[in-house]
């Protein structure tokens, strides 16, 4: 079974620039999550999709972050404009029907904002 694919692996941008991350979940997984992991901390949920609908985006900074999941498969997360504090690893995960024991994480995109 192929894992969760994310790209790019690394990205360096200047503050106030925009950036986008892409995620392809495991085939058949209806639930997709974006987590933000700041260095030295545990991952924090940004947004959860069930198919192509948003289930939870309560911790997404909506003034600068946006995410979409078209056709209930791939997803993109965008930051515009980026701030220094957005430097983190952005992890995408998927699960079958939202079962917590069934999460699979991708390797993440490491963003550095300078």
């Amino acid at each position: 079974e192929a894992g969760v694919a994310q790209s790019p692996r690394y990205k360096i941008i200047e503050k106030r620039q925009s950036v986008a991350f892409w995620c392809n979940p495991i085939s058949g997984h209806a639930t997709l999550y974006w987590y933000q992991q700041i260095l030295g901390q545990g991952p924090k949920l940004l947004i959860q999709f069930q198919n192509n609908g948003v289930v939870d985006d309560s911790q997404l900074p909506k003034d600068r972050f946006s995410a979409e999941r078209l056709k209930g498969v791939d997803s993109t997360l965008k930051i515009q404009p980026a701030k220094l504090e957005d430097s983190a690893v952005y992890l995408c995960a998927s699960s079958l029907e939202g079962r917590p024991g069934g999460y699979t994480f991708g390797s993440g995109t490491r963003l550095t904002v300078v």
Partner: protein, 114 residues
């Protein structure tokens, strides 16, 4: 008070040692408890998943949950250099749907010396 507190690290032990990793939580709604292992520059991978209070064993790993004390532990027996990684506890309140987001501890970095 954070919802999930994890013992700070880093932790360095000799090969063959027994390792004890611990988390406490404050939200009594948490019902499902997980331990994830995260290697450098990789996404977290599920190690153990428990629901009820008590012990669950899988090879050299034992997960322990005490819901009355809001305390969970992960024990690693006969630790190996390949166990060197960051260990994250995670928990959630429901098994499916909108509340299946995970709340993570900060993680502890374990180093097993040959």
């Amino acid at each position: 008070q954070k919802e999930v507190e994890q013992d700070p690290g880093p932790l360095s032990v000799p090969e063959g040692a027994i390792v004890s990793l611990n988390c406490t939580y404050s939200n009594s709604a948490f019902q499902y408890f997980m331990w994830y292992r995260q290697y450098s520059r990789k996404g977290p991978e599920l190690l153990m998943y428990t629901y009820s209070s008590g012990n669950k064993e899988d090879g050299r790993f034992t997960a322990q949950v005490d819901k009355s004390s809001k305390y969970i532990s992960l024990f690693i027996r006969d630790s190996q250099p390949s166990d060197s990684a960051t260990y994250l506890c995670a928990m959630t309140s429901l098994n499916t749907g909108a509340n299946s987001k995970l709340t993570f501890g900060k993680g502890i970095t374990l180093s097993v010396r040959p």
